[in-house]
């Protein structure tokens, strides 16, 4: 579903990604881990077609970036630590706006389905700026899955969430991923990520320095794996 080969990204003289190779199959839930400034957000923004790669090949659902960016965008949903929602529109209006932009058929029905899934049906007429951070993040996921994309990208979705909101987000992500989509998530929260992801890739010095699966590592070993990857890097 996602195939990245020798991806390079430079900002002026600074090279952020130095030849990343990365692949995700449908149904895989991949956690992209790494310390601050290793290029996780840059990597996801390139996959989301929000940033242009300096070199290398990126294919998503068979479409090349940046040449077929429009086709890629129709197949992916992106959630960042910012909500990407308008505070002065209601929950329902935000989804309606994005639904119209994506030309979703039976939009009212789809909005009801998504709000029901997110547990936000009761807040459908509330202005987004009056919602809690956790609710806004759930709605942000709703915006990303509204057009039922094949690929989902989550950039630090736990940022600024309290414990309860994080647990709720875990449930939400599990439900979203359980539908055979390819999911890539970046996070510093190893505890939440360990149970959610099926594969862990570590990004360091602009490269994938280590990769393993949940099956191989076993429960409770992610932190050790993470530390070892950085010692070796």
């Amino acid at each position: 579903m996602i195939v990245v080969k020798n991806l390079v990204k430079r900002f002026g003289l600074k090279t952020v990604l130095r030849g990343v190779d990365f692949q995700v199959e449908p149904g895989e839930f991949v956690a992209l881990l790494g310390s601050n400034g290793t290029g996780k957000t840059t990597f996801l923004r390139i996959l989301a077609s929000l940033s242009r790669p300096t070199g290398g090949n990126v294919r998503i659902a068979g479409c090349r970036l940046p040449a077929q960016a429009e086709a890629v965008r129709s197949r992916l949903g992106f959630v960042s630590h910012q909500p990407l929602l308008y505070g002065d529109l209601t929950t329902e209006e935000n989804l309606y706006f994005y639904g119209r932009m994506y030309a979703i058929p039976n939009i009212e029905q789809r909005i009801s389905e998504v709000l029901d899934m997110l547990g936000l049906d009761f807040h459908r007429r509330d202005l987004v700026r009056t919602l809690s951070r956790g609710m806004q993040q759930r709605l942000s996921i709703g915006r990303a899955v509204l057009h039922d994309p094949q690929v989902l990208l989550f950039d630090e979705p736990y940022t600024g969430l309290d414990q309860n909101a994080s647990v709720m987000l875990d449930k939400m992500l599990s439900r979203v991923a359980a539908r055979g989509r390819a999911v890539v998530i970046t996070s510093h929260d190893l505890i939440h990520i360990e149970d959610l992801a099926t594969r862990y890739d570590i990004l360091g010095r602009g490269l994938i320095v280590a990769s393993s699966t949940r099956e191989k590592l076993g429960r409770g070993s992610l932190l050790t794996f993470y530390r070892q990857a950085f010692q070796g890097a």
């Binding site: 077609s49 929000l50 910012q82 929602l85 308008y86």
Partner: protein, 237 residues
């Protein structure tokens, strides 16, 4: 080799293009109706500028008509810059610009949506300012030719202003950077707008005004074309 799009594909692309434009305009108007941040700021600022000029210049009947185009365009320009900054800041503050850029449609639709919204806000302010100015300065501004010039000048101003606002909003000094970038670029539009406005107010022959009007139209077309070519590169990292 790239195949030419079929008429059906072209029609569906055009439908998507206009749907995105309409959605952005709907969104901007709804947000403004709720918050009243943008129009209030533009309107109060424009009224203050008109009032300050009224007290500062102490104009007599003779030279009143002569300075009117200048005062009007200074007012519209300053109020427009305020509106442009706020309009793009709304998109940037919660990462909403990224939300728009993720939509699977040609990004020039996003530009047009924002451009038409910004233009609508500027026109609303102008509609309110014109009678106020007429009353304060005792000048009749309801001349069809003048109204056309105001519309054409606003189109040119907002066409390039929307593009530059999308650029400056990415920086920390966006409030300062936009006028610094915008004013030098927009000088030809302002000169043409002031000259043709003055021509209509002073009752000049159409042949005298026409070159300025043509210049105004030419710059409108050039600015829109430049914006269409550059918008995608400006908003993408």
């Amino acid at each position: 080799m790239k195949r030419d799009p079929s008429p059906t594909t072209l029609r569906s692309q055009l439908t998507a293009f206009f749907r995105v434009i309409a959605s952005i305009i709907w969104k901007d108007l709804t947000v403004e109706l709720r918050s009243r941040e943008l129009l209030t700021a533009m309107l109060v600022f424009a009224l203050l500028v008109v009032l300050i000029f009224n007290f500062a210049l102490e104009l007599d009947v003779k030279n009143r008509t002569g300075v009117t185009p200048g005062i009007l365009w200074v007012t519209f320009t300053f109020a427009g810059t305020l509106g442009l900054n706020r309009s793009m800041a709304i998109e940037k503050d919660r990462g909403c610009l990224d939300g728009l850029l993720l939509v699977p449609v040609d990004r020039s639709a996003i530009y047009f949506g924002k451009f038409i919204s910004n233009l609508a806000f500027m026109v609303i302010v102008e509609i309110i300012i014109l009678p106020v100015y007429s009353a304060l300065y005792n000048v009749n501004l309801f001349h069809p030719g003048l109204l056309l010039v105001i519309l054409l000048g606003s189109i040119g101003y907002m066409a390039i202003g929307t593009l530059l606002a999308a650029m400056s909003v990415q920086t920390r000094t966006r409030d300062v950077l936009l006028p610094i970038l915008l004013f030098p670029v927009v000088v030809p539009v302002l000169v043409a707008a002031v000259k043709s406005s003055g021509g209509f107010l002073q009752g000049s022959e159409l042949a005298e005004i026409l070159p300025w009007l043509n210049l105004l139209i030419a710059y409108d077309v050039i600015f829109i074309a430049i914006a269409l070519m550059l918008f995608d590169y400006i908003v993408e990292e």
